[in-house]
């Protein structure tokens, strides 16, 4: 490993409509190292990386690859220079096989057709060289996320990647898959592939990185090695203030049951049973966590509870009353608060203003409606009060929610849902895609609601979130709740195993 950098950025600046996304960034990547790029959402990590792989052009500054100054005008040039990026949202064509996905854009051809035999040989050779493999004929949409990611890595290797950028690669992975990924990353680094690892998970950085660059507000805050720092000080650098990791240290009060699902089965849109015979209850002042890998029935379960999806069999009981299916308003009026999984699709009406979004559940009632007419004044007053109380940072109540940051959008949803005196909160992936500061905020709000006596059902694929908040933990696997663990007995490894394999844990 010589000290010559494979990639060097000097004084890179980029602004969008007058907003600085990167200002004077210097960055060095050594050959065969795993370099973590740490920063909150909006710190400018993605912008920086998009400039390296040709999706954006810097306003100022220079990019050197292998010591030569380069202009990277489009992704094709980046590929030729050996820069490969694995995006957070995979760039995989779902209906294609792994093989087709890997060769797309660099297909070996005979005179007229694609030379699949040659492609197959090349992929087998790569497998041998790097020591991990994939099934070239599997249709990618049927593959687990971890394997899809491996296809992405193969795509880069196939193009003889020298610099591999991984954008939040662990966000969608289970602990086991994350371990596998790290093993692959180390192997690649040993074969002198240089890796940039973008993340905001501190634990992973400490675990795998050779060096760490911290970014804040578009600028480099520091370059460290994991030996000379710890998670706390990294967090401080990243956010610029002290941060307390929220945890639920109060034991649950055994109040009365606010919510109960009994024998609940729900079908997916494609017709098969996505949730099978699920029973559980949530009591006052209790947080029940449902852990699981995405796509194991969480969406169907939460939609059924929210009244958005038909129930095949079983009952939903809210504060002692059996609720009719497909009646979201009745659920809300009986005390349901709902943070949906996809806030852009189901949580907000994007072109509407903040104020309008805040009365989506109550617009038909006093004081927001009088007979047939809306009361604009009441709506705006309500909004001003909520923006103040929930610390929503925006121009004013009439700003469109489309322009808000993810954190503020989530705050709008929380302000709407938490201001209705609900007794039961259904939170599905409430912190997905949020930065550390916003995650802390959402968690604190949830704990406050819990302290007021509401029961909370937290569905999440983030194990850390479940472990730090939930009083009792359930694991959902292929539509079944397979285990009920008290908080004490649960640890990352055994939960992760249950999430992937669905095995009942030995007591």
């Amino acid at each position: 490993m010589d000290g010559f950098p494979v990639l060097e950025l000097k004084g890179i600046s980029k602004s969008f409509h007058g907003v600085m996304a990167n200002s004077g960034v210097d960055f060095k990547l050594k050959k065969g190292e795993i370099h973590a790029l740490l920063g909150e959402n909006g710190a400018g990590k993605s912008t920086l990386m998009n400039m390296i792989c040709g999706l954006l052009q810097p306003d100022r500054g220079e990019i050197f690859i292998q010591g030569n100054r380069r202009k990277i005008q489009n992704p094709k040039i980046a590929i030729q220079l050996g820069v490969g990026m694995i995006h957070q949202h995979f760039m995989i064509v779902p209906g294609f096989t792994s093989l087709e996905n890997i060769i797309l854009g660099s297909e070996p051809v005979t005179r007229m057709a694609i030379d699949f035999r040659k492609a197959r040989k090349q992929i087998a050779a790569l497998s041998d060289q790097y020591g991990f493999s994939i099934d070239p004929d599997a249709v990618t949409e049927d593959l687990p996320v971890g394997i899809q990611q491996r296809v992405e890595i193969f795509k880069a290797l196939y193009r003889k990647v020298g610099i591999l950028i991984l954008d939040e690669p662990t966000a969608v992975l289970t602990p086991q898959e994350t371990e596998d990924l790290f093993r692959v990353m180390r192997r690649l680094a040993r074969k002198s592939v240089s890796i940039i690892f973008i993340t905001h998970k501190l634990r992973e950085v400490m675990q795998i990185a050779d060096s760490i660059t911290v970014m804040q507000r578009g600028a480099i805050k520091g370059v460290l090695s994991p030996g000379e720092t710890d998670e706390q000080s990294l967090a401080r650098m990243m956010i610029g203030r002290e941060i307390n990791m929220i945890s639920n240290d109060r034991s649950a009060g055994a109040g009365r049951t606010v919510f109960e699902a009994s024998g609940l089965s729900v079908n997916s849109s494609r017709g098969f049973e996505a949730v099978s015979d699920v029973s559980f209850c949530v009591r006052e002042g209790e947080i029940v966590g449902i852990a699981g890998i995405q796509g194991n029935g969480q969406m169907e379960l939460s939609e059924a509870i929210a009244g958005l999806r038909e129930i095949a069999s079983g009952n939903i009981i809210l504060s002692g009353k059996v609720m009719p299916a497909l009646h979201p308003r009745k659920m809300m009026e009986n005390g349901l608060a709902h943070i949906p999984e996809d806030r852009l699709k189901y949580g907000l009406v994007l072109p509407f203003s903040i104020a309008e979004n805040q009365i989506l559940c109550t617009y038909y009632r006093n004081p927001f409606a009088r007979f047939m007419w809306r009361n604009r004044k009441a709506m705006l007053n309500n909004s001003r009060e909520l923006m103040d109380r929930f610390d929503i940072r925006a121009g004013g109540p009439e700003e469109s929610v489309k322009t808000l940051s993810g954190g503020n959008q989530q705050k709008v949803i929380i302000s709407r849902e938490f201001s209705r005196n609900s007794i039961f909160l259904l939170a599905n992936q409430p912190t997905r895609g949020l930065d550390v500061g916003s995650i802390e905020y959402v968690h604190r709000q949830m704990l406050t609601l819990r302290d007021k006596g509401a029961g909370i059902l937290l569905i999440s694929s983030e194990l850390d979130e479940i472990l730090s908040l939930a009083d009792s933990i359930l694991v959902i696997y292929r539509g079944r709740l397979i285990s009920m663990a008290g908080k004490e007995g649960a640890d990352r490894a055994s939960l992760g195993l249950m999430m992937t394999r669905g095995l009942e844990r030995e007591k």
């Binding site: 992704p75 094709k76 294609f96 087709e100 051809v109 057709a113 099934d135």
Partner: protein
């Protein structure tokens, strides 16, 4: 890795298709046994009737496989039929007529691509504009009293055309009908085995993935839409230069839209669409024959309904099971 065992989606639909074709073939053989002359006439007519539908479907397929919803096929066909006929009359050359038709179709395709790909206009609206434009332009500039200068001749392949049943149907036909069959197989091969095909399908399913792999989504879509325009142009040329011999106002008569249905029924594959179009063509020619023969004492309004009835039934059965390209109708944004 876990093996997921489940019935392949669409397997039931395919079985239905096979069943349908077996029964149709059985009917043809039976009727040939009863009356060879009528059967040959009906089948050749079916092939002719299906030609503009097949070509229209290929046009739609080319653009939809790359992710652009194209409802302007009708307009592209109409403009080509008009311009091809005019050029034929002015130059006196059928060849010039056909080539001008292709050019007109490609130009209409270019216009459509400019609106939907470059200007990122809603693709339905862009297609509608093409259709309205075609009706308006051809209607306005249509010179009355222009007489035909002949049409493309039927060509018999020596020897092969002597085979009973298949010979007169498959080897005694006009050039565009023959070309159409070639286009179907060529397109099918290219779409599923060539580099261009892989890139086209990738662009239709996930344009961003294609873009990050260095494929120019815009260029590819322009290319595909314009080639599609040429093919729609051929359909137009078929109508005015081969089938009818003159241009008439609105002579495409909804074929561009039936072509869309045919494409969907054929699951966005060339051979599938061809099979579907043949079925429609067959139903049309059977309907004509029924009116002609008066074998059934049905009012002609009822027999006339047959092709449309089949469209509705077939679409009601199949359309739900068919999955369009995932990014159909979404214009690709570069950040």
């Amino acid at each position: 890795m876990m093996a997921v065992s489940r019935l392949r989606p669409g397997a039931r639909g395919e079985m239905l298709c096979v069943f349908l074709w077996i029964s149709v073939t059985a009917c043809i053989v039976c009727s040939y046994w009863i009356s060879p002359v009528v059967t040959v006439a009906v089948l050749s007519s079916a092939l002719r009737q299906s030609t503009p539908l097949v070509l229209g479907a290929m046009c739609g397929l080319l653009s939809e496989r790359s992710g652009v919803m194209n409802i302007g096929i009708e307009g592209q066909m109409l403009m080509a039929a008009f311009w091809g006929f005019l050029m034929h009359v002015w130059t006196g050359s059928l060849m010039m007529g056909v080539i001008s038709g292709l050019a007109a179709g490609a130009f209409a395709g270019f216009l459509f691509a400019w609106m939907s790909v470059s200007m990122k206009m809603d693709q339905i609206i862009a297609g509608t504009i093409i259709n309205i434009l075609a009706v308006g332009l051809t209607g306005f500039f249509y010179p009355t009293g222009m007489s035909s200068a002949g049409k493309l001749k039927i060509y018999s392949v020596p020897l092969l055309s002597e085979i009973p049943l298949a010979g007169p149907v498959l080897f005694r036909m006009s050039p565009i009908v023959f070309l159409t069959i070639c286009i179907v197989f060529l397109l099918h091969y290219c779409l599923f085995y060539s580099r261009w095909g892989l890139r086209t399908r990738a662009t239709g399913e996930h344009p961003k993935a294609a873009a990050t792999m260095g494929i120019s989504v815009v260029k590819l879509r322009y290319g595909n839409i314009m080639i599609g325009g040429c093919i729609a142009g051929l359909a137009g040329a078929f109508l005015s230069l081969e089938s009818v011999g003159v241009f008439e106002r609105g002579m495409t008569n909804g074929r561009g839209f039936i072509a869309l249905a045919v494409m969907i029924f054929g699951k966005w594959t060339p051979i599938g669409a061809w099979g579907a179009a043949l079925l429609f063509g067959l139903s049309m020619s059977v309907q004509t024959q029924l009116q002609f023969d008066r074998v059934l004492s049905l009012p002609h309004q009822f027999t006339g309904m047959l092709p449309y009835l089949i469209t509705i039934i077939v679409l009601a059965i199949f359309i739900r099971r068919n999955r369009p390209p995932a990014s159909l109708g979404v214009s690709c944004e570069r950040e």
